[in-house]
């Protein structure tokens, strides 16, 4: 069986994709890690064949023939024992050294690396570019430049999570009340954003982070970023070389963190450095209240549209509220925009209005709807500015 | 080997000799003590790490004498004395003659007295602990979220890790003082539980001694309870300075 496996791994290694064993190499670390792995892998294969070969050989050759069988008087041999005690130790030490070197490389980020603050909370990742004051919402992907060192400084708001990007071979637990960190420098080919659209519709809705109803919703992170950059460049007629290519990489949470652990996913979108700079600019002077697509007929921003954007892309509300098991927003107000009354765990009923909702956003545990008593605690958004709350309330009203 | 008939009732059939039986019981007891030690090691590790994280807190708490050293010291003396009397009890049991005669009666009496005294001291220890606990509870110096001592109330209510501005105006982190009392109650609580159990088994020994079950060949029970009691003492020898004294 193993012979077959290693034949495959060879075959796949030729094509640029990931091998039979490992996903594509998309960071400088990946190459080092993989070479360590394949060293261990080949050593293991060799030893496995030797040991199991010997075992089967002996078992067959010395199979019991008759009750008259005589067996050899072998109580052991110090020479042989020493050989198989000492010889493997050298290989083991070699493994340790290789692993250690690579590890040291992986824990010491270059001084000039771009810092991104990653916040994990049940159950989504949100990002912040402290040096540029850019917030990236939970529903969006983190965007990084190709070939530049990126340093993630990570902290959790509730339980332990773990940030894992298989293509980069990086992983680190994200612990509450304490920074943990990983860094990577991406490599590999970038493709048109469209390229990543093909596979995505196959994903389960929940993993795509779509609203539970929207069947043909696709996860277009790559596409979105590419279009965002191109359109901004066009508007401000910045020089832009050719099509904006992106690399999209899957992010997992690998430390069990509760119900939606397996839905706590995100994406890393890689851009060419010059495209990344444009993206930064675009992000920095972007505001949904100015965004054309959200402007109403009267030229003022249409708050419900803005609210929809904020809820989905900036604050990641839909990460939970988009799923049927969590409090649904479309039942808060009726057609006429009149607040509906709902029963609380405390027993009394509360009519949904601006005060109630802003309280529920800033201090979610204050009033809990009985029906949703145990879907887990919503993390509080005490810092959310007034106008954003207004916009989101408008969005809720617009939902039917 | 001894056939079952001529064995005394306390000699279990599957042992060849009383020596083998006693040695086994003693080794078993040591094994038990060893696991007790490792159980406590966890609590000590908790102490070490919490002290490591919040040195100022620990120093502050002990600096402000939130624990009463006199009470602690008295308890130490009480426990040490009980340890002595227990040792003497074991010594008496070692010398109990095989035959029931006047000498046996005399030594048995002393054995019973030593056991009783040990119990009394153990009781004193628990009473003093009770007094201490009631003070703590009254002041609100309680573990974890029940902690409500005024000086740091503010910090505990909003679980923020507040700082104290030191003389030089620098920021000293004295976060989460309730943790000291978590550690304090965990350690002394578990230790107190062991004392309580000790009282129980010593009384049991007293009754057995009264029934004259022991002699110089069969006193493993006394010896082993003795070992247990000394271990309880041993633990306290470390608890006392760590919690009360070190600043």
């Amino acid at each position: 069986m193993n012979a077959f496996l290693l034949w495959i791994s060879q075959a796949q290694a030729e094509s640029g994709q990931g091998t039979f064993w490992l996903p594509p190499q998309s960071s400088t670390l990946a190459e080092k890690t993989d070479s360590t792995f394949y060293f261990i892998y080949w050593v293991s294969i060799v030893f496995f064949i030797i040991l199991m070969g010997a075992m089967l050989l002996f078992a067959v050759q010395y199979k019991k023939k008759s009750d008259a069988d005589k067996t050899a008087d072998l109580k052991g041999s110090h020479v042989i024992e020493l050989i198989w005690a000492i010889f493997p130790s050298f290989l083991l030490i070699a493994m340790f050294v290789m692993g250690f070197k690579t590890y040291v490389y992986s824990i010491v980020p270059p001084a000039d690396s771009l810092e991104i603050l990653v916040t994990g909370k049940q159950w989504n990742w949100s990002y912040n570019y402290p040096n540029y004051g850019i917030e990236v919402g939970a529903a969006d992907a983190i965007v990084v430049p190709k070939g530049k060192a990126v340093r993630l400084r990570m902290v959790s708001e509730d339980v332990i999570h773990s940030y894992y990007v298989p293509d980069f071979r990086v992983k680190k637990d994200v612990v509450p009340n304490r920074y943990s960190m990983l860094w990577f420098e991406t490599t590999g080919e970038l493709k048109g954003g469209q390229a990543y659209m093909l596979e995505d519709p196959k994903l389960p809705l929940s993993i795509r982070g779509c609203e539970s109803t929207d069947e043909n919703c696709t996860d277009g992170h790559g596409k979105e970023v590419a279009e965002f950059v191109t359109s901004y460049a066009k508007e401000n007629n910045l020089p832009i070389s050719g099509e904006v290519n992106v690399g999209v990489h899957q992010v997992f949470c690998t430390e069990y963190c509760g119900n939606d652990h397996s839905r706590m996913l995100s994406k890393v979108v890689v851009l060419e450095p010059e495209h990344f700079d444009i993206w930064l600019k675009a992000k920095m002077d972007y505001s949904p209240y100015k965004d054309k697509q959200f402007l109403g007929s009267d030229g003022k921003p249409d708050l419900s549209k803005v609210g929809s954007f904020l809820a989905k892309n900036q604050y990641g509300c839909m990460g939970c509220h988009g799923k049927s098991t969590y409090p649904q927003w479309n039942t808060l107000f009726d057609e006429s925009g009149k607040g509906q009354s709902r029963g609380m765990t405390s027993g009394d009923n509360v009519v949904a209005d601006y005060e109630y909702i802003s309280e529920s956003i800033r201090n979610p545990q204050a009033k809990i709807v009985a029906q949703y008593a145990n879907v887990g605690n919503m993390s509080n958004y005490s810092g959310m500015p007034e106008q954003d709350v207004k916009a989101i309330v408008e969005y809720m009203k617009s939902l039917k | 080997m001894s056939a079952h008939e001529d064995q005394p009732y306390y000699h279990a059939h599957h042992f060849h000799t009383m020596d083998q039986q006693n040695a086994s019981l003693k080794l078993g007891m040591w094994a038990f003590l060893v696991q007790e030690l490792l159980f406590f090691s966890g609590l000590f590790m908790a102490y070490i790490s919490m002290r490591f994280f919040y040195p100022e807190t620990f120093e502050l708490v002990q600096h402000k004498n939130l624990l009463s050293i006199p009470w602690g010291a008295t308890n130490t003396l009480v426990l040490l004395t009980s340890s002595l009397t227990m040792a003497l009890a074991v010594r008496a049991a070692q010398m109990l003659p095989m035959v029931k005669n006047d000498e046996e009666k005399k030594i048995r009496k002393s054995l019973m007295n030593y056991l009783l005294v040990t119990c009394v001291f153990a009781g004193m220890f628990l009473v003093i602990k009770y007094v201490e606990y009631t003070h703590k509870i009254h002041d609100g110096l309680l573990p974890g979220k029940f902690y409500s001592y005024d000086a740091w109330k503010a910090q505990i209510e909003d679980n923020t890790f507040a700082g104290v501005v030191g003389e030089g105006g620098e920021l000293i982190i004295t976060e989460a003082p309730q943790i000291f009392f978590s550690v304090y109650f965990m350690m002394t609580g578990v230790h107190g539980l062991h004392v309580l159990i000790g009282v129980g088994v010593i009384l049991w020994l007293y009754l057995r001694a009264k029934r004259g079950e022991f002699n110089r060949e069969n006193f493993a029970a006394v010896e082993n309870v003795g070992l247990y009691w000394h271990l309880v003492d041993l633990i306290w020898i470390f608890l006392f300075p760590l919690l009360y004294l070190v600043q």
């Binding site: 064993w21 890690t33 792995f37 261990i40 892998y41 030893f47 496995f48 040991l51 199991m52 010395y62 019991k64 067996t71 050899a72 008087d73 072998l74 109580k75 052991g76 024992e81 198989w84 493997p88 130790s89 493994m95 290789m98 692993g99 250690f100 590890y103 339980v159 332990i160 298989p166 071979r169 990086v170 992983k171 637990d173 196959k202 929940s206 690998t254 430390e255 069990y256 145990n374 | 080997m1 059939h13 060849h16 080794l27 078993g28 094994a31 696991q35 007790e36 490792l38 159980f39 090691s41 966890g42 609590l43 790490s49 974890g144 679980n159 890790f161 989460a176 309730q178 943790i179 978590s182």
Partner: protein, 546 residues
């Protein structure tokens, strides 16, 4: 050796053995006979293995396709309870408490363990603890994962406290068993049985009991503190209250790494017995194996940090732990090589027991080798908490321990029951079990290496094919285990009576009647020869030099 003929003859006459010496259910419930206690353990453990197995099937069923089937809440509870039951109720006591209890005094030539009443007590403590876990199972279940990591375990609304109490109690059962065995090995050896004449299974149980004594109290105190963390928020482990979750992981793994040796060392011991008896050869390198058993037990205590490489443990500590971890590989390699070398120039019986022994060697070698990339810092960063790890520890724990347990059951089945099972059925089932086992867990290495994280109830479609192979194979494996159970139970009634020494073993448990009499031996047996001096061995003068 010892009292051979007389004993056998003696028992043939009055024909009484430990099974029929006393009658009635009470005679079992209040027995202090280590053999009966061992049998009761075995029954209880197998029952829970069945429960845990069904939960495992449920896990595999959920993972048949990427979309949720039972949904997150249910799935999290299923895998948690699977883990908790398998670790605390099955794997830890599996070999020592059941087989060990039965065989240890017999092998030592003793009439019983040192403290028979304590032995019964630890059985009932075990039962009590298991009741707590059952209570958890039927009330609010548990969704923390068997590792109880804080702060999640301090927050979740499930019945953590009852589960912790259960595990806490089970810990003491394990401690007392260890204590009992340790003293027994020291004090109860038959005249003539020196340390160097002890069967390697005894060495393994001895090392195991030391680990149980030294490591288990620490998990006890850990769970104790965690209970108070939940009740009083003492804030030692919960970061929101100022504690340190990584500290909890240190506490937890200081026990939970050594405990994998509590599980697997007895398995090694079993293999050392069966590989010799069924190849009629002296073990290759007795001293080396005995020494490496103790070495593994010792070194196993200082490698726990390799579970914390990514948890926020300092890089320095990580490096140290990684290095020491490789130290465990050496004695393990020595053992494996010695077992294989033992087959050389032997007369290997291809019976069920030997097949499972060879199966163990295959599975354990894979399990051991796949441990290497996990011990290596850089590669562990990639594999940690993926299905690669899941596959690895299932190969070592489940494959290793379970196959060894089945080996042991087959090897000592005649001794326990006085009946022979059907070799034909045994061999047939073995091949199914072996193939389906590998098909279940080998694919998990691949998807893990590809980045499939563990504890996911829904996943990216690219992993679907591997999950499906794994799931379907696992159902097959489950069936073949039922098969094993079936033909063994069948043999109880219909199996032919076993001769006094069916395998021609020369260690002391084969010296007494089969099944043994109530007090194991008539009179005091004397240990004359070593446990592996088989009559078939041709003593040639050259080798005598060794």
């Amino acid at each position: 050796m010892s009292t051979s003929t007389t004993t056998v003859a003696g028992t043939e006459e009055h024909g009484s053995n430990y099974l029929n010496a006393k009658k009635g259910i009470m005679s079992w419930l209040i027995t202090i006979d280590h053999k009966r206690i061992g049998v009761m353990y075995l029954a209880w453990i197998l029952t829970f293995f069945l429960a845990g197995g069904l939960l495992a099937m449920a896990v595999r069923y959920e993972l048949l396709d990427p979309q949720p089937t039972f949904g997150a809440e249910v799935y999290n509870k299923i895998f948690t309870l699977h883990g908790a039951i398998m670790v605390f109720l099955v794997l830890v006591p599996a070999i020592p408490a059941s087989i060990g209890n039965f065989v240890l005094p017999l092998m030592l030539g003793a009439k019983d363990v040192a403290f028979p009443k304590l032995n019964l007590l630890s059985f009932y403590i075990y039962v009590l603890g298991s009741l707590f876990l059952i209570y958890t199972l039927v009330t609010n279940q548990l969704d923390t994962g068997w590792t109880f990591y804080t702060p999640y375990s301090a927050r979740t609304s499930t019945a953590v406290i009852s589960a912790l109490t259960g595990a806490f109690i089970l810990g003491f059962s394990s401690i007392l068993t260890g204590l009992n065995f340790m003293v027994t090995v020291h004090m109860m050896r038959a005249p003539g049985m020196t340390w160097r004449k002890m069967p390697l299974f005894i060495w393994a149980l001895y090392a195991t009991s030391l680990i149980q004594l030294l490591a288990t109290p620490v998990i006890a105190v850990t769970l104790f503190l965690l209970v108070f963390e939940r009740m009083f928020g003492i804030g030692i482990f919960d970061p929101a209250l100022g504690g340190d979750p990584v500290l909890f992981q240190h506490f937890f793994w200081f026990y939970s790494h050594p405990v994998v040796y509590v599980m697997v060392l007895p398995a090694f011991g079993v293999i050392s017995e069966t590989v010799t008896v069924h190849s009629r050869k002296h073990i290759f390198g007795y001293t080396a194996i005995a020494a490496s058993t103790i070495a593994i037990a010792g070194v196993g205590f200082i490698v726990w940090g390799h579970h914390l490489f990514l948890s926020g443990q300092s890089e320095l500590a990580g490096a140290i732990f990684s290095f020491i971890t490789f130290g465990v590989a050496v004695p393990t390699a020595i053992k494996t090589c010695s077992w294989i070398a033992t087959l050389y120039k032997g007369s290997v019986r291809w019976n069920t027991t030997m097949l499972y022994t060879l199966g163990f060697l295959w599975i354990f070698t894979i399990g051991g080798l796949t441990g290497l990339p996990l011990a290596t810092l850089a590669t562990d960063v990639h594999f940690h908490d993926t299905y690669f790890v899941v596959a690895h520890f299932h190969y070592v724990m489940m494959g290793g321990v379970l196959f060894a347990l089945i080996t042991a059951i087959h090897h000592w089945w005649p001794k326990m029951t006085g009946r022979m099972f059907s070799e034909k059925a045994g061999k047939t089932v073995f091949f199914f079990a072996f193939v389906t086992y590998n098909m279940t867990f080998a694919p998990q290495f691949v998807m893990g290496a590809q980045g499939m994280p563990r504890r996911y109830h829904e996943y990216l479609p690219q992993f679907e094919i591997w999950h499906q192979i794994s799931s379907y194979a696992s159902f097959g494996f489950g069936l073949s285990l039922v098969g094993v159970l079936f033909y063994l139970l069948y043999s109880l009634k219909n199996g032919e009576k076993s001769p006094q020494n069916p395998w021609g073993g020369v260690s002391m448990e084969w010296e007494t009647a089969t099944p043994p009499i109530e007090h194991n031996f008539e009179g005091q047996p004397i240990c004359k020869n070593g446990p592996y001096d088989f009559p078939e061995i041709e003593v040639d003068p050259n080798a005598a030099a060794h």
